[in-house]
């Protein structure tokens, strides 16, 4: 009788285990790779200029500033994913090969948002942790003093000419004139959180989709359209880039500064089962 119970329990457990294995966060296999060097940024609130394009009463308008709260510790890679890091994913057959000649100690560049997604899935698998691209809010919070507000003065929205000139000046002004080639990790120094090369010469893919927000006369959102075929690349200035583009340097627009390079870093997101456990443990 007792034996029958035990067998029944075992069978039931095996069934559940299969379900658990399909749940994000559950460990399907022991990690094959050590976790990357992460920095844990403490929770907090900060002043943030919303991303996307805004109209107010049907006229182009500045994006509103808002206070964003980061409720949980934000675990983010200390440095951008390097060419050597990315190479491992390519060798494992999980990431599309990119520029094979890149120096291993430099950030991987000429990667699309899709490539970055593939890397995040692979890294999650081989480390048995969960990695994803940060949102623009998370990136801005982590970048801290390196985050550059891309708001234009209200007067810039008076006419299309002034808007074009103000945007051009802001983006050209953010160009430090340095070499556009990717540099060895650490070249652009660390910010107050110890994150290196934030807003250096490699822009970083985020998970944030392009948004167009229509505000009413009181400044309240009336409608919002998002286009997730275009993602936000964060860096010295924000750039909206189609998700399949690997090199935005050539631009595609006749005016305006473009990201010198496209790369990425990931956040670790203990969602799912592990997140639940942490939550239950009151962490």
């Amino acid at each position: 009788m007792r034996l029958a119970w035990m067998i029944a329990l075992l069978v039931a457990f095996a069934g559940h285990a299969a379900i658990f294995a399909a749940t994000p966060g559950w460990r399907p296999a022991p990690p094959r790779m050590a976790l990357p060097d992460m920095v844990e940024v403490r929770p907090g609130a900060f002043d943030y200029r919303a991303s996307g394009e805004f109209t107010r009463d049907g006229r182009p308008a500045p994006a509103p500033r808002e206070t964003i709260t980061i409720a949980r510790p934000l675990a983010i890679m200390r440095h951008q994913v390097t060419a050597a890091d990315y190479r491992l994913c390519v060798d494992d057959g999980a990431c599309p090969p990119v520029d094979g000649d890149a120096a291993p100690d430099r950030p991987v560049v000429k990667v699309s948002w899709r490539d970055a997604q593939a890397y995040a899935s692979w890294l999650s698998r081989v480390t048995a942790a969960r990695f994803r691209l940060p949102s623009d809010e998370e990136w801005a919070y982590a970048a801290a003093s390196r985050f550059r507000d891309d708001g234009l003065p209200d007067s810039a929205y008076a006419d299309p000419g002034r808007q074009a000139l103000a945007r051009y000046d802001a983006e050209v002004g953010s160009d430090d004139g340095n070499d556009k080639e990717p540099q060895p990790v650490g070249t652009f120094g660390a910010n107050e959180h110890g994150l290196v090369d934030m807003a250096g010469n490699v822009w970083e893919w985020t998970d944030t989709c392009f948004a167009r927000v229509m505000l009413d006369g009181r400044g309240e959102p009336a409608a919002r359209l998002t286009n997730c075929g275009v993602r936000l690349a964060a860096g010295r200035h924000r750039s909206y880039v189609p998700d399949f583009i690997r090199d935005a340097r050539g631009g595609g627009c006749s005016a305006g500064a473009q990201p010198s390079n496209l790369g990425f870093r990931l956040v670790r997101d203990d969602g799912g089962w592990r997140g639940l456990r942490r939550m239950l443990a009151g962490q």
């Binding site: 109209t55 000649d101 000419g161 074009a164 050209v172 080639e181 010198s260």
Partner: protein, 381 residues
Amino acid sequence: MTVISTTPTAMVAALAAVVWTAPAVAQDLELPRQKIELVAPPFVHPHEQATIEGPKIIEVRIVAEEKEIVIDDQGTRLQAMTFNGSIPAPLIVAHEGDYVEVTLVSAETNTMPHNIDFHAATGASGGGDLTLIGPGEQAVMRWKATRPGVFVYHCIPGGPMIPWHIASGMSGAVMVLPRDGLRDGAGKPLKYDRVYYIGENDFYVPRDSAGKFKSYPSHGDAFADTLELMRKLVPSHVVFNGRVGALTGKNAMPAKVGETVLIIHSQPDRDSRVHIIGGHGDFVWETGKFGNRPEIDVETWFVRGGSASAVLYKFLQPGIYGYVNHNMIEAVELGATAHFKVEGTWSDDLMRQVQAPGPMAPQAKVTAAPPTSTGTVDKRR
């Protein structure tokens, strides 16, 4: 005299000796002389748009210099050849009937012969036959500006050296203005508030087996690979003023609403087709020759390889204007883009944003036709 002295008297004596031994330049033509300090493009040396003075001898000094330069933001290196160190070489402005007396000097650091062919000059390969010099040498040649217009000049040392030197940067332009200035088709005088000179060049930088641009320790090392690539006629770069982005960002060309700008555009090799995004050509001398009536209201003007065009445009709206070779593949992918940065007051009459981008009105909802259908989009749905 072997005494080394730093006294002023001795220095004057030494200088006099140098002057005495320099080759004597013929002083046969009794005309006033004007020495011009050339400036690097896109800027142009000060000049009169029309003149009441009689013909002069315009003296210019041009130094041939071989040097390695960077031609894009990726650090791609080109073993370049230049006149006066810039690509393009400086614009020389004279008036019809003036004489242009050119002292061509070849830097001692050079390795190759150089010379100069002025399309505006008549005879002896535009002066090329009279100016072929080696490193550390100089030659003086004078030509009469008989035809008003903008004309290319370039190095023409012979054989495969000709296209190679040109494709390495050795070209510039001359502007011969009518003595009484520019005129429209009805003979009314035309003036400009600013002038910019834009030189377009096609470069051919070989790649290694991995597709990376190669660099070479010397011009001689670069020659064979470069010539092989040139023969395929597919440039690696098509640029304005010597490099990708030479006239964008911090180097965008400033102008103001209401200002008339004269734009000279030269291309020594390939054809180009110039367009101002959001602007026009008010008066266009497409072949560059001022004896012909200018075309008006032009959207895109053709620049024949081996020639220069002149365009007058009055900016009417503020903003950023792309100035491109309207083969947009060359403009965006290969580098042939410049920007004008124009300050001033916006005209709602010329253009107004009636409705900012936002959601489609319900009755206007359109979707792409399914791929199997060849019909038009049904707007009634």
